[in-house]
Amino acid sequence: MDLSVDIGSLGLKNPLIAASGCFGYGLEYADVVDLASLGGVAVKGLFLAEREGHEPPRIVETPAGMLNAIGLQGIGVHRFVREKLPALRACGATTIVNICGSSIDEYAEIARVLSDAEGVSAIELNISCPNIKEGGITFGCSAAGTRDVVRAVRAATPLPIMPKLTPNVSDIAGIAVAAEDAGADAVSLVNTFLAMAIDVETRRPKLSNVVGGLSGPAIRPIAVRMVYECRQAVNIPIVGMGGIMTATDVLEFLIAGATAVQVGTANFIDPHIWPKLLTGLDAYGARHGLTTIRELIGTLAPADTQGWTSS
């Protein structure tokens, strides 16, 4: 089965992208997975400048999920371009740079820096990091804010741009529409759900930042619904994510309307997951006689209402 998909002008050899913040700068995984075998690599969110991030503890597990409040520790876009990008190119990675800003100008400036660099395939606008006020979430929570950021970045770069949407909103489809109107090539969703966990013996939050972002299988049903809603609302491609652990989960997002997917938390549990997912997709394609995986995108059939199931 042909696994290639197109995210606007960006062609991916398959629909599997390593999710930002869950794959370091990609190079950390170069000796366990052939980076060129992935559809894409979304690197850790970058500001213009370096950042220390939050105090530990930065993660905690929850039922079928995990909370994180890393606080976007990172080396900044300039060091990234100097120190990481050449090696990513050498590995043949399709690099998607996830960028964050505390102002619209910062987003635009980072986009300009990346446009001048060699080896950036696309920019993912992180307007949805729940863990830091200045992480763009202020933009991502409203259609107007989303439009403004996307417009500014659109004006600043010819690269494909893909705003990453937060699920912590009443109407994610409305925000996807705003992104499309403002010239986004695609939208990616979802980022993590703002959440918290408390140690009842000490009565303290389990994260130093008190709140963090929920990821993992727990959120998958909500993420799939949001992809499905956005699919009805926009024409640009959707990159879906949230709790993908198996090829079946990838297929669920594609059928709901995603053109590609990102895998985050699952990569922590199994860094060798990528070939397993590809094998699973191929097996499904063979079983269902698909010639290209694109046949599957957004093909949800009507519900099957049966009075009662039979044993």
Binding site: G24, E28, Y29, F268, D270
Partner: protein, 277 residues
């Protein structure tokens, strides 16, 4: 070379009500493992718990002819994952990713190697002791615990010709009190000689104290830290510890799974836990 193997449990030996040793068949992983490195272990096939758990490589096991056969974990039951490992049945297959992280630096004669362990902080030291003794380095183990029941594998270290100094808080074995006391005396006594290399693993306050004592005696030190780790591969930035790259530089966070778990003692920017007792 990091690999993920489904390692078969060859034995699970109970040491106490909450500690055990799990031996695993994993020749390929053992072949490249070095003392101080760790593995990321998946305690259950399902989602409970979701993430892997980091464990020091306790022993590097070999076959009769000395070729690599596997490794073992010294496990202390503190929660869901370690409880599953405490009860794991022989023949079970457990996914183990490794070897990971920076190993200890092995010192050569005439410099001596002094290992300082608190409780299950013994974990990285049996493999280390073997490697040190193999190159003829004189080694001592300063080993502290709450009581005699918390001290394990003393004879294994003795058989390797490691000098033992034991302290327990209740005095049930060795001298009463913290292991830092005999360490301090020994360093004073050896003041004339070439300062030993200190290898340290245990509770944070103990590690910090040992590094400080060592510094006053011009001892280099390496500390094995155990922050929470989400991935062990550098992917998540959950495991950061605060370090100073030179003395007047301001501290910054580095990933312990990549730059550690073993750190030079003088690199660590120790900090008081903000509000704990």
């Amino acid at each position: 070379m990091t690999i993920d193997v489904d390692a078969r449990v060859s034995s699970n030996i109970r040491l106490s009500s909450d500690c055990n040793v799990v031996r695993l068949d994993a020749p390929a992983l053992a072949a490249t493992a070095r003392p101080g490195q760790f593995v990321m272990v998946k305690p259950s096939a399902g989602l409970e718990p979701l993430l892997r758990r980091p464990f020091s490589i306790f022993e590097i096991l070999t076959t009769a002819d000395g070729s690599p056969a596997g490794f073992s974990l010294l496990n202390k039951r503190v929660g869901v994952g370690t409880s599953l490992l405490f009860d794991v049945k022989p023949q079970t297959e457990i996914a183990c990713l490794g070897p990971l992280g920076r190993p200890f630096t092995l010192v050569d004669p005439p410099r001596e190697a002094w290992m300082v362990a608190g409780g299950v902080g013994l974990a990285p030291f049996l493999a280390l002791a073997r490697a040190l003794r193999a190159r003829g380095t004189a080694a001592s183990l300063f080993y502290g615990g709450r009581s005699a029941d918390d001290l394990f594998f003393l004879d294994a270290f003795e058989q390797l010709g490691v000098t033992l100094e034991v302290a327990t808080e209740d005095g049930s074995r060795g001298e009463r009190g913290l292991v830092t006391a005999p360490l301090h005396r020994a360093l004073d006594a050896a003041a004339a000689a070439l300062p030993p290399m200190l290898y340290v693993c245990g509770p944070t306050p103990m590690m910090r104290a040992v590094v400080a004592i060592g510094a006053t005696h011009a001892c280099p030190s390496e500390v094995s830290l155990e922050p929470m780790m989400g991935c062990g591969m550098g992917g998540c930035y959950s495991c950061v510890v605060s370090v100073r790259d030179d003395h007047d530089a301001s501290p910054h966070f580095v990933r312990a799974c990549l730059e550690g778990p073993v750190f030079a003692g003088d690199r660590l920017a120790w900090r008081e836990p903000a509000n704990t007792t």
